[in-house]
């Protein structure tokens, strides 16, 4: 299994969860402080094509297969669009959109050899809620929705499913700087008015990667109800 963005938050939790069952390769810009005999960490930028290809070469040569990819790495920046530097906007798009595209493309090349693969992308309730201050972040996640839809069709004949999860508001670093009042108003807009727990996210990823799950692809699941 390959998971991106494993140094913290949901990615770190999923890494800990899946190293109990699988060999996990993870990556993030920062070092990871997690260690397990089932885990190998790569320090890299997910939008750096050269590094991404090196990582996938390593996986293909060492394991000869890749069954699961979780495109979790994501970058956000709360800021009014008028005040957002284009360098930050580019970084968000590179990490979220190009990173997801590159990892999916390279994963499909390996997965198709075994005619089996499960790709899970991460999107956000910033899209349907049209969150102010998240213009570029929401746009990047909307692009991932489109990628999920189109890739699910392009990869279906290779036995690969592609789905996306919008996690519920979860207490991770990504929302650390968001005001309490804003979070409360966000929770009110979810059908289930509470923070999500990390184990509730892994319950869904477990389901989506399951070998029996052969017919669910191209779906966007908004946890917490949108």
């Amino acid at each position: 299994m390959l998971i991106t963005g494993t140094s913290r938050g949901i990615g770190k939790y999923l890494t800990e969860h899946y190293t109990k069952k699988f060999t996990v390769i993870g990556c993030s810009r920062k070092e990871s402080n997690y260690s397990s005999s089932n885990y190998t960490h790569f320090c890299m930028d997910v939008s750096d094509e050269k590094k991404v290809k090196e990582l996938f070469n390593f996986i293909r040569k060492k394991f000869g297969r890749l069954d699961y990819l979780i495109n979790n790495a994501g970058k956000g920046s709360m800021n009014h669009s008028i005040l957002m530097p284009v360098s930050v906007a580019r970084d968000i798009l590179e990490t979220n959109v190009i990173g997801t595209f590159l990892f999916s493309r390279e994963a499909a090349k390996i997965m198709k050899n075994k005619k089996f693969g499960r790709i899970i992308n991460f999107v956000s309730f910033a899209i349907p809620f049209k969150l102010e201050g998240e213009a570029v972040y929401a746009a990047s996640k909307a692009a991932i929705v489109s990628l999920t839809h189109v890739l699910s069709r392009e990869y279906a004949d290779f036995g690969i499913t592609v789905n996306a999860i919008a996690p519920p508001a979860t207490k991770t670093d990504l929302i650390k700087g968001v005001q309490d009042v804003k979070m409360k108003s966000l929770l009110k807009r979810q059908a289930i008015h509470r923070f999500g727990n990390l184990h509730e996210i892994s319950y869904l990823t477990d389901f989506l990667i399951g070998k029996k799950n052969k017919m669910i692809t191209g779906q966007i699941i908004y946890m917490g109800g949108v």
Binding site: E49, K50, K53, E54, N57, R60, K61, K109, K112, D157
Partner: protein, 97 residues
Amino acid sequence: MINTELITKLVYSVIDEINLELPKTKKLKKKLETQLYGDKSEIDSLSLVNIVVLTEQKIEDKFNISVNLADEKAMSQKNSPYKTIKTFVDYIEKSIE
């Protein structure tokens, strides 16, 4: 030294593998003028994807070179680098220069 002959040989070995999965009537001939993409090509887009990906992997394995054979002109009827085996070999040679 990697030259045209070595690359052609490598592409032919890819064609051998792809032919194993193609029906008898659609098997690709190992000739430079064989069409891989376009009106006269016998194969579908999935087989073309398989050829490109398998070629990338073989280049990485045999020559230890990481190469990306994706191209923006891939689906151009006129200028696709995948049009024939010859154009594909030329394109690979340029890509790994």
